[in-house]
């Protein structure tokens, strides 16, 4: 197996990117040096949590995968499958939705961190196609779902400002924000 294949196997699994992205929320929440940037970052983490949560709901509550019921690429084509066989439907990609939901929400509050997370999300989505478990259209539509959900949640929380304000105030009260 080539070095690139090994790298793709690392990126494609269910833990690596998801854990890295989730860990980055800790440094984004706590690690800002200025007060104004910290406030923007904490709002972005709040938006990201909701963006990812609602993106996942499309898949688990409304079950959009079952509406389209598309088979995985390895079921219909000869592919170099580098990971275990997923048994759920292929379209759209939940991994891409979650990755890009994180990246978009953070990008709104912190451009540099958002671009870094966007790169990770892209890598994750690319690896899903490269390893034979998604078609490119699965990850493109998944990414669009994640991006649009995060923007939607951002605008909702801008209108219902009291909710993130109250949460951050509570966290400040216990010295964690």
């Amino acid at each position: 197996m080539s070095v690139f294949d090994r790298f793709m196997r690392l990126v494609v699994d269910d833990w690596f990117v998801l854990t890295c992205v989730s860990l980055s929320m800790i440094i984004i929440w706590l690690g800002a040096r200025s007060l104004s940037q910290r406030e923007r970052n904490q709002r972005a983490v709040w938006d990201a949590a909701w963006g990812v949560g609602i993106s996942s709901l499309w898949f688990h509550l409304i079950r959009i995968n079952e509406i389209f019921d598309r088979a995985r690429p390895f079921e219909e084509h000869t592919v170099n499958l580098l990971t275990y066989m997923r048994t759920d439907q292929s379209f759209p990609s939940e991994a891409a939705a979650v990755g890009f939901a994180f990246a978009t929400a953070i990008w709104i509050g912190n451009r540099r961190a958002g671009i870094a997370l966007g790169f990770l999300a892209f890598l994750w989505a690319f690896a899903r196609v490269y390893c034979g478990i998604h078609y490119p259209s699965d990850v493109i539509i998944g990414a669009l779902i994640g991006i649009s959900t995060s923007f939607l949640m951002h605008f909702i929380w801008r209108i219902l400002k009291f909710a993130p304000d109250s949460f951050i105030k509570f966290m400040q009260w216990v010295h964690l924000a």
Binding site: V12, D14, I26, L30, G31, T87, A177
Partner: protein, 156 residues
């Protein structure tokens, strides 16, 4: 129901990765934001090193102890469909991150107790309080302030 592994098998494989990497990330974040009351070590550079070693070590351990692409760690039903995978992953991540936060607050409060108690300026609010005091000191100071305020209210 066929299970690839029980929830607790899964939990004890993923939890240490999250716990130790979160612990490392908390140290890096605290050092970066100059939150002296939250760090385990006095100077920022050793904190960065500690954080990096904890994160990299946790990932190396996780990937060295099993082929993570051979089969899902999560439960599957008789049709081979994933069930509750994401919920388990999320619950485990939250548990690991929460335990890492509690461990950080406890250890940093003990380690820094002597260093910071003499320089308690006490004026900061929120996270900024942890630049000069430990979490335990900040909370007890707030509680004492609250009790004083409450007793003054009662006395009129």
């Amino acid at each position: 129901m066929v299970t690839a592994s029980s929830f607790w098998d899964y939990f004890w494989q993923y939890f240490p990765l999250v716990f130790f990497s979160s612990l490392g990330m908390l140290q890096i974040a605290a050092a970066r934001a100059d939150l002296k009351g939250l760090t385990f070590l006095k100077r920022p550079l050793p904190c960065y090193l500690f954080g990096a070693v904890a994160i990299v070590g946790a990932f190396i351990w996780f990937y060295a102890t099993g082929d993570r692409n051979a089969e899902p760690l999560i439960s599957i039903d008789e049709k081979g469909k994933l069930f509750f995978g994401e919920t388990q992953t999320f619950a485990t991540f939250m548990a690991g991150a929460f335990c890492a936060l509690v461990a950080t607050l406890l250890v940093s409060s003990v380690v820094n107790a002597r260093i910071t108690s003499s320089t308690d300026k006490g004026a900061h609010y929120g996270l900024d309080a942890l630049k000069e005091t430990t979490f335990f000191q900040a909370i007890t100071r707030d509680l004492a302030k609250g009790v004083r305020h409450f007793s003054n209210l009662i006395r009129g």
